[in-house]
């Protein structure tokens, strides 16, 4: 079981009384807005959850694991997520005996 956009929209429909189309659109736009900011080089800070940061990685040597051939891993920009204190504390308290 995983939380998906469909369930997030369902919750907005139930709790806020948005109609299903509006709820779906809002969830879609929430993630699009974050993607858009990150694409523009803007990091995103969601208090109570965490920060989405950007890191520029330099080119480094790599290897094709199948053939062993050396090929450079090109320089790239990547997204990293740093959970906030509050989320970390809530997750740490998860004492589930079953693996997540």
């Amino acid at each position: 079981m995983a939380l998906t956009k469909a369930e997030l929209a369902e919750k907005l429909f139930e709790d806020l009384g948005l109609n299903k189309r509006e709820a779906k659109e809002l969830v879609e736009m929430f993630f699009e807005e974050i993607r858009d900011a990150l694409t523009k080089g803007v990091q995103v800070k969601l208090s109570g959850f965490g920060n989405f940061n950007l890191r520029d990685k330099r080119q480094r040597p790599g290897r094709n694991p199948k053939t062993g051939e050396e090929i450079p891993i090109t320089s790239r920009r990547v997204v990293t997520f740093h959970p906030g204190q509050k989320l970390k504390a809530r997750v740490e308290a998860y004492a589930g005996s079953q693996q997540p």
């Binding site: 939380l3 974050i34 998860y94």
Partner: protein
């Protein structure tokens, strides 16, 4: 790289402008509800899978011996879970191609 940042309230403002058929309050409450649902899922050990954005899961950190930095005394630290985010392909590709411009 510059360190411009968008906060939750700026995200709410931006969405409210685009969704002008909804009230500001509705957009604000929606954003807070989405974030709370996501935090709750992770706090309950549930994964989050958002197509085109990425997935969140928990990674286990095994118990280890730590040290009290003041006294140097060894203290056992219990195992714990930490949230982990893996960007999805669309997010990875868009962010990466933005560097080339």
């Amino acid at each position: 790289m510059d360190i411009k940042a968008m906060t939750k309230s700026e995200l709410i403002d931006a969405l409210a402008q685009k969704l002008n058929h909804l009230t500001y309050k509705d957009v604000e409450f929606s954003v807070k509800t989405i974030i709370e649902q996501m935090a709750q899922a992770l706090a309950g050990g549930e994964r989050i899978e958002i197509r085109g954005f990425g997935s969140f899961s928990l990674h286990h950190r095994p118990p280890r011996m730590g040290r009290n930095p003041k006294t140097g005394e060894a203290v056992p630290l219990p195992g714990k879970y930490v949230p982990h985010f893996k960007p999805g392909k669309e997010l990875r590709d868009r962010v990466n191609s933005s560097m080339e411009q």
